[in-house]
């Protein structure tokens, strides 16, 4: 009898699915993503990029009852940085280098898989990474390593259009999950280690036609062009490889911009090098820049500002304020007024010695270290692209920091050659004895033989009112994991060691942990299907999905 009811109800459900309008992910739905917490509709869970879910089935009392529901194994080895999107029981997740899978979010079984074959000239600095898709209407969008943007039919995985975003021969690439707003899909380009000239570009979701394109390095005659000399601007990097945010009231999108090039020889590119290492505010309809804020002028350390702009409307020290919170790779935590770009507070959250502090406009007062001396934070930064979270309940901003980690840089003159690495030097990680193993960009070894003496992880909870750390959760190895918070004050994250951690978001107390065995280099997501709340997290080459025991 029970079975029959189930069959009937699923038939009703199936009928509902046939009506195409029900399947549409409209702009309005994404804008109001908080009203459907059972879905995870954008890379960062919503346009404000808070990675905060209103789901409350899993809480601090029952978190110990989490059990594994399913595993999806990747067929391709390498860091799996993808962030799933979940729409009405279907999960969309990318596999490196550029495949998209539609997965049953309850069982982990795959409906369809689309494989993009990259141009063999595709070049990226740091692995064949892809961080996920965007959805809009009945389409799924993915950027590719060979700098294309692909639109797929969300129901059957068929390719609908493909457009060239950048010149693969000049080492342009797209590794970020696109951002879909209104009728457009917006992406930025990677290639900051190859002498590109970065930009953000918007495409009409329906046709793939380009709507606008805004360079992150101003050309001749444009404001800011005088922060470059001679032809430096043509190869000056400033890539955009992490998904931005959107504020509907301002009609602005916000994007973190990466390092200037050549990376380590700033003497070769005198000037502030705008808009490298900045956040830029672009009108979503025209791409016109409304304001910018530069974190690290004339950067010689590869301190990309490719962090997720986390937006919130808070009582900032008693005044209602539209803020943007930003833990930067350069070791400082900033709170900006996102209507103007004014810096409200900026303070170091790890040891910083490349600058002695920030002035009243939050411009760093630089203190370059002598040749051969270590610079704090090191090349991978105090943090990096790992998506943070903001909980409106606790009022705290959470992110993964690297402590006690330093790099010794060297620089050299380098001539630009099209499509070739354009680095202008190199670096070594400070280790306690000569030749000792050190932290790498990712973790491929189950043995930690470098030890925490070379650096270790610290999950930090920051108060945006003061810019100060409220509590921290230390890890033995460093972490590239993103954050997820929930309405039950859970903070869900991972780490390079392969642990899945659930903490109390109010005080950092560890509530639950499980060894999943492989590095966690994405941010967990949560969703609900048929009344069951799930948490998905990718560790190593597998996507694990948990829920409470029945």
């Amino acid at each position: 009898m029970k079975k029959l009811i189930k069959l009937i109800s699923s038939l009703v459900f199936a009928t509902a699915f046939i009506a195409p309008l029900h399947a549409q992910v409209s702009y309005q739905r994404i804008l109001n993503a908080a009203e459907e917490p059972h879905n995870w509709l954008t890379y960062n869970g919503g346009y404000m990029s808070q990675r905060f879910s209103l789901l409350d089935q899993i809480n601090s009392d029952n978190v110990g009852d989490l059990e594994l529901k399913w595993v999806l194994q990747n067929q391709v080895f390498g860091a799996w940085q993808s962030n799933p999107i979940v729409v009405d029981g279907v999960m969309y997740v990318t596999e490196r280098p550029n495949s998209v899978m539609a997965v049953d979010a309850v069982t982990g079984r795959v409906f369809w898989k689309y494989v993009h074959t990259n141009d063999e000239r595709a070049r990226v600095c740091c692995g064949a990474n892809n961080r996920g898709v965007a959805v809009l209407g009945d389409k799924v969008f993915m950027g590719t390593l060979d700098a294309n943007l692909v639109a797929l039919d969300r129901i059957n995985g068929q390719r609908l259009w493909q457009v060239e975003v950048g010149d693969v021969g000049l080492a342009y690439s797209v590794t970020m999950a696109p951002l879909a707003v209104k009728d457009k899909v917006i992406v930025g380009v990677g290639g900051g280690e190859f002498g590109i000239r970065g930009y953000v570009a918007a495409y009409y979701a329906e046709t793939g036609e380009q709507a606008w394109k805004t360079y992150t390095i101003p050309g001749p005659g444009e404001p800011g062009h005088d922060t470059w000399q001679d032809d430096d601007w043509m190869y000056g990097g400033a890539p955009v490889w992490i998904t931005g945010s959107f504020d509907v009231e301002q009609n602005l999108t916000f994007w973190g911009v990466g390092n200037p090039g050549p990376d380590w020889n700033n003497a070769q590119r005198p000037g502030d090098n705008l808009y490298s290492d900045s956040v830029i505010a672009l009108d979503v309809d025209t791409g016109e820049m409304q304001w910018y804020f530069q974190f690290t002028p004339n950067d010689p350390y590869d301190y990309d500002a490719v962090q997720v702009p986390v937006l919130a409307d808070i009582e900032w020290n008693g005044t209602p304020t539209k803020v943007m919170m930003w833990a930067n790779r350069n070791g400082y935590f900033y709170v900006l007024d996102r209507t103007t770009g004014e810096c409200l507070v900026g303070k170091p959250y790890v040891r910083v010695n490349w600058s002695s502090g920030l002035d009243e406009n939050c411009r760093p007062m630089i203190t370059p270290q002598p040749d051969g001396m270590p610079t704090y934070p090191g090349n991978q930064g105090g943090t990096n692209w790992y998506p943070p979270s903001f909980s409106p309940r606790t009022g705290l901003f959470y992110f993964a920091a690297w402590e006690d980690y330093a790099t010794i840089y060297y620089s050299e003159e380098q001539e630009y050659e099209p499509g070739r690495a354009f680095l202008g030097g190199g670096f070594s990680v400070l280790a306690p004895s000569p030749g000792a193993p050190t932290i790498g960009i990712g973790r491929t070894n189950p043995i930690n033989n470098w030890t925490s003496e070379v650096g270790h992880g610290s999950l930090k909870a920051m108060d945006p009112n003061t810019g100060e750390e409220v509590w921290e959760f230390e890890q033995y190895d460093v972490s590239d994991s993103g954050m997820l918070t929930t309405a039950t004050d859970l903070l869900i994250t991972g780490g390079r060691e392969g642990y899945f951690h659930v903490l109390d978001a109010t005080n950092g107390e560890l509530l639950y942990y499980k060894n999943l065995g492989g590095q966690i280099v994405m941010a967990p997501v949560t969703y609900m299907v048929d009344g069951v709340q799930y948490v998905s997290i990718i560790s190593g080459n597998s996507l694990f999905t948990f829920a409470l025991k029945e």
């Binding site: 001396m373 004895s433 189950p446 043995i447 930690n448 033989n449 030890t451 003496e453 890890q475």
Partner: protein, 267 residues
């Protein structure tokens, strides 16, 4: 569940800055030369060797020392020679039916070119003297007390790292530093640990792996142990290796290095 305090808290109290200072010191070849005295060739000798090499050797061996098959001078790969005296006789006597001719060099030219080769063909490099491997083996197993803790080719205890492949893993400079200043050379993972568990068991040993919640080690009884940090009452990581700097003479150190460089794993 309480968050286990990881070992960082233990060694945070140690003078870590001293270790960092060492690294800075060793990035500067000149300072290193002064520091290590007669254990190695001087930078003047290496510079002189560069001139001799460019004049006499580079024509056949190439500027990078890799043009003769089976030989890579920069990486210390030779057909037969191992010690500095071997190189000396190859250069002064010639080899391979005259394909490598005999060179009549003055003593300072000869020691200069050997120094330059030992410095990896890097005029700013550091050259370490490499002695007789047979004498070095005897010292390793006898008066040098190395074999008291280290295992080689299946013989000896496992408590310290196995050295059967150390000749391919370490450079002569690194081996020398390990012998004369082990405190500066020890890899962090090899620092001795002392642990007391909640069951009042005291464990000493050497770590193999560690993470936020657990530590894996080989204890003094050669047992593989995996411990939960939340079960530990004491967890100390020494900043000093169990071995003091060697009391061997500089000639003997050169011999031990010569021996260690022959350890290249099971055939």
């Amino acid at each position: 569940m309480k968050h286990p305090k990881h070992s960082c808290r233990v060694w945070n109290d140690r003078p870590g800055t001293v270790l960092f200072a060492f690294l800075i010191l060793f990035t500067n070849g000149t300072m290193l030369a002064q520091e290590l005295g007669d254990h190695q060739y001087t930078s003047e000798s290496i510079q002189a060797g560069l001139r001799v090499y460019s004049r006499e050797c580079a024509l056949c061996h190439g500027p990078a020392g890799d043009l003769v098959s089976g030989i890579n001078l920069a990486r210390g790969e030779f057909r037969t020679a191992s010690s500095d005296d071997d190189l000396r006789s190859v250069i002064t006597e010639g080899r391979a039916q005259g394909q490598m001719p005999a060179f009549a060099l003055r003593e300072e030219e000869l020691s200069g070119v050997i120094a330059y080769i030992r410095a990896g063909l890097d005029p700013d490099g550091v050259a370490v003297r490499i002695g007789d491997p047979v004498r070095g083996k005897a010292l390793f197993e006898g008066r040098g007390e190395c074999a008291d803790c280290h295992r080689v080719n299946g013989v000896g205890p496992r408590t310290a790292p196995d050295l059967s492949e150390i000749g391919v893993m370490r450079s002569p400079v690194s081996l020398q530093l390990n012998l004369i200043d082990p405190g500066a050379a020890i890899l962090p993972i090899n620092r001795p640990v002392r642990i007391v568990t909640r069951n009042e068991e005291t464990i000493t040993g050497r770590r193999l792996n560690e993470d936020t919640y657990t530590v894996q080690l080989i204890d003094s009884e050669e047992r593989l142990r995996s411990l939960q940090k939340s079960d530990l009452v004491t967890y100390e990581i020494s900043d000093q290796p169990s071995k003091q700097p060697t009391s061997l003479s500089s000639d003997e150190v050169a011999d031990v290095i010569g021996y260690l460089l022959t350890l290249r794993g099971a055939p």
